[in-house]
């Protein structure tokens, strides 16, 4: 379950297609800092533990610093590896996350993306004869997922430029077409001020681009004024507080329906002192919009860092399918039964999702023949 523990949403600010909800931290956080680390803007290649390679365009990195009683330090010029020659540089970054000096350097959102691409899908343990030889020998092979950089979203730059930051603001929920496009939370307000503009360099789902272009003006949600019954100025103050509270509950219950109250598949990635950095994906229900993300939490559940990415329907379908196959150890019969389908239909589904190359040619032909009759 994803919760915004320790955070209170403030009333949204609307500009163009974007509804931006500021998140305020209830208790100031003084022992953890998240800062921007300069990285040259280039393609990065990361070797994963299982021998696979993760290649991505990375605009910037974050540096996480924790501990008490000492001033946070940031390692500057944290460039790792060496550029290879040629017109298109591919930089080697030895790990997505790396202990550096006293802090941890990691590439925002790529922890989650790496998970989506490779880690949520257990490889088959049994060499079923339906699976192609290449798959058994080389694994899933090359997979790509795409996103849209924030500066391509029409109106997003304007919305961020004219956004009025709150004093205690540590995060932001971005909505387009009243769907959560992304959530971003950092430990302290000072960090957020520094990182506000990086939202523009981040990655967003395809659907966000479509909504940003198609729904230019989200309706203004005007909290029903509770000022009618006021008898004194003090009552008016109470009413104002009530409207603010209504806004917070509205965000928590309605605007976050995509995320709240849904089970998450979470996987710890790193432990920083008592804090835990993990990546998660929502339950991959194809009927709903799903998100992947990464977060850092205290033992008491307070969210210190959060970043999410909205999956497109196709991405959800692919992830769901692979996840189902992995839970059934790639046994097609069992997986089809669990999905309430026949095996030939499942084969067609696998082919349509772009994973046809995982099955043998014979298997695909048999299934096609079975479907025709």
């Amino acid at each position: 379950m994803l919760t915004l523990e320790g955070l209170t949403p403030a009333p949204a600010q609307v500009r163009g297609a974007f509804r931006l909800v500021p998140l305020l931290r209830d208790r100031p956080c003084e022992d953890v800092r998240l800062t921007l680390q300069p990285l040259s803007q280039d393609l990065k290649a990361v070797a994963l533990p299982d021998g696979a390679q993760y290649v991505a365009f990375v605009p910037h990195a974050l540096c996480l610093d924790w501990g008490e009683g000492r001033p946070p330090e940031v390692a500057l010029g944290g460039q790792v590896g060496r550029p290879r020659g040629g017109w298109r540089r591919l930089e080697l970054v030895d790990r997505l996350r790396r202990r550096e000096g006293s802090g941890l350097r990691f590439l925002p959102l790529h922890l989650a993306l790496e998970g989506l691409l490779a880690l949520h899908f257990g490889p088959p343990r049994v060499a079923w004869k339906e699976l192609s030889r290449d798959f058994l020998r080389a694994g899933l092979g090359v997979r790509t997922e795409s996103g849209v950089p924030g500066n391509l979203l029409p109106g997003f730059e304007d919305a961020l430029r004219t956004f009025e930051l709150h004093d205690r603001q540590v995060g932001m929920l971005v909505y387009t077409g009243d769907q959560l496009a992304s959530a971003f939370v950092v430990p302290s307000a000072a960090d957020y001020r520094q990182l506000h503009r990086t939202l523009l360099a981040d990655l967003y789902g395809d659907l966000v681009l479509r909504y940003a272009a198609l729904y230019p003006e989200p309706p203004l949600l005007e909290a029903t004024p509770q000022f009618e019954a006021a008898r004194t100025v003090a009552d008016l103050r109470v009413a104002l507080a009530a409207v603010r509270r209504d806004w917070a509950t509205f965000v928590q219950t309605e605007l976050l329906r995509d995320l709240l109250g849904r089970s998450l598949m979470a996987e710890p990635v790193y432990s920083a002192g008592t804090l835990e950095l993990d990546r998660f994906v929502t339950d991959l229900n194809p009927a709903q919009i799903n998100h992947i993300g990464e977060r850092l939490r205290r033992p008491d559940g307070e969210v210190l860092y959060l970043k999410t990415f909205q999956l497109s329907a196709a991405q959800t379908r692919r992830a769901y399918l692979l996840h189902q196959l992995a839970t059934h150890q790639w046994h097609l019969g069992e997986a089809a039964a669990a999905l309430g389908q026949t095996v030939p239909d499942l084969v067609e589904r696998i082919e349509r999702a772009g994973f046809g190359y995982l099955l043998t040619q014979a298997m695909r032909e048999t299934a096609a023949k079975a479907r025709r009759t």
């Binding site: 403030a10 009333p11 949204a12 600010q13 609307v14 500021p22 004219t162 956004f163 009025e164 930051l165 709150h166 004093d167 203004l220 005007e222 909290a223 004024p225 000022f227 009618e228 006021a230 008898r231 004194t232 100025v233 008016l236 103050r237 009413a239 104002l240 409207v243 603010r244 806004w247």
Partner: protein, 473 residues
């Protein structure tokens, strides 16, 4: 369906508000192009439908940008002037052109040439304008290209050596000293320092004089605006003379200082600002009802303005604070900034806009008149000010709320108001605050279009009174 009169009244108030606030420049929320397109549409619309009122708005204290637009538009469509209105319109045009600052009026005349607006009335207007100049030689030196365009366009026969200066080749010496200096400055470095600063700037480049040296040696000849522009770069050689600056310019100057400097020179700055505010009030007192007055001043992030109008909304809020402080008897005025500051002098633009909370603070304090200065974009939470205002009016029936808005909203074609019950009034210059407050009562009072006409006629009468200077009543 609203009656014709209601529509006319609303249209005019819309237009006047735009003409008070919009300057066709980039604002926090809108680009310069959006502003221009929007305000030009308004001009075309009002000109087409209410020509007399359109001409009379020249007298209502509209800003220079809009006054120039109105003059050009009226000249361009001279044929549509009703015969019985001709004399008044001509008088208005002449008076308005005389009141424009020289750089604007010369630019306007050159623009008439570029846009090929040329008729007998235009030529007569240009001729009268030239004849009315106190020192045409100086103007010709300072705005040589523009004056030449105007003279060419209106087929003017200028007297003395001016034709030779504007159209000649500078072979022979002039008898007029200033013209001769200009001629010599093309060859001699010494003569450059005897010219007006902006002219000297161009020639200094030719002679390779560094800008600092030029400003340093010409200190005595700089105008106030030029002083403001160069003083930071001049390393202390050029100083600002605060007593000669208008209030808004002074506020902008103070707000551009770093906080530490403002803190260190607090007493001195307070003194300057107070004096400038009292000077404004001496010309026109604030039309405020007796009783406690509170100002709800917006210093949220959007008050930082734009690249072209840096901190302008904030400067107007500060100027309003100063005017009220100087204009209200001791103990009857208090300022409520949306992000509270220890002193108005240290105010900065940051954070969200929570006007409602400050309104309630003002009510708690017992304010009878509340003046809101804000761009009208409220976001903490949005739309609550309206509800709070309604309730507050029910609780304190004598409460009077006025909203002054320094930002023109290009999308809504007017200055944005905080509540349908509270029409906002545009404001570009703090000197116009007394006018704006008078107009605000008028705009909020649900007056008829005939009242508006009488109001404008009254303004026209004082505007056209001979010998009346730039001052608004």
């Amino acid at each position: 369906m609203p009656s014709h009169d209601t529509i006319a009244r609303e249209d005019l108030i819309l237009f006047l508000n735009a003409a008070f606030a919009c300057s066709g420049q980039r604002e926090f929320y809108h680009t310069a192009d959006e502003q221009r397109v929007s305000v030009q549409f308004l001009h075309a619309y009002i000109l087409g439908n209410y020509r007399r009122l359109y001409a009379r708005t020249l007298a209502a204290g509209v800003n220079d940008f809009n006054a120039a637009e109105i003059i050009v538009n009226l000249l361009r469509t001279g044929r549509e002037t009703p015969p019985d209105f001709r004399a008044e319109e001509n008088a208005l045009l002449g008076a308005a052109l005389r009141r424009l600052p020289p750089q604007r009026s010369w630019k306007l005349l050159a623009r008439l040439r570029r846009e090929r607006v040329n008729n007998r009335r235009t030529r007569a207007l240009v001729r009268a304008h030239m004849a009315g100049q106190r020192d045409l030689t100086f103007q010709a030196v300072k705005y040589r290209r523009l004056v030449r365009a105007a003279a060419l366009h209106a087929h003017l026969h200028l007297g003395g050596e001016l034709p030779e200066f504007l159209f000649g080749t500078f072979r022979r010496a002039f008898r007029t000293p200033l013209l001769e200096t200009y001629r010599q400055a093309r060859y001699s470095t010494q003569a450059v320092y005897a010219l007006p600063y902006s002219v000297a700037q161009g020639l200094a480049v030719r002679h390779g004089i560094p800008p600092q040296e030029l400003a340093g040696r010409m200190t005595a000849r700089l105008t106030e605006d030029e002083r403001l522009r160069v003083q930071r770069r001049s390393a202390g050689v050029v100083e600002v003379r605060p007593e000669r600056l208008p209030l808004t310019a002074l506020c902008l100057y103070v707000l551009a200082m770093p906080l530490t400097e403002r803190q260190a020179r607090a007493a001195e700055l307070e003194d300057w600002l107070g004096r400038a505010a009292r000077a404004v009030l001496k010309r026109a007192p604030l039309p405020l009802s007796p009783g406690r007055v509170a100002a709800v001043l917006d210093n949220s992030f959007s008050a930082s303005g734009s690249r072209e109008k840096r901190r302008r909304p904030l400067a107007l809020a500060l100027a309003t604070d100063l005017l009220l402080r100087a204009g209200c008897p001791a103990g009857t005025y208090r300022a409520f900034w949306t992000q509270p500051t220890p002193s108005s002098l240290l105010v900065q633009a940051a954070g969200q806009t929570n006007l409602t909370e400050r309104l309630l603070d003002a009510l708690d304090w017992g304010a009878q008149t509340v003046l809101v200065v804000s761009d009208g974009v409220e976001n903490d939470p949005p739309g609550v000010f309206h509800a709070a205002l309604r309730a507050a009016r029910r609780l304190c029936p004598a409460l009077e709320v006025l909203h002054v808005n320094p930002v023109f909203d290009a999308e809504m074609l007017t200055v944005r108001s905080l509540s349908p019950d509270l029409p906002a009034v545009g404001l570009r210059d703090a000197d116009d605050l007394p006018t704006a407050l008078g107009f605000a009562r008028f705009a909020a009072g649900g007056a008829e279009v005939s009242d508006l006409e009488t109001y404008l006629l009254e303004r026209v009468r004082t505007f056209l009174k001979p010998g009346e200077a730039h001052v608004d009543p």
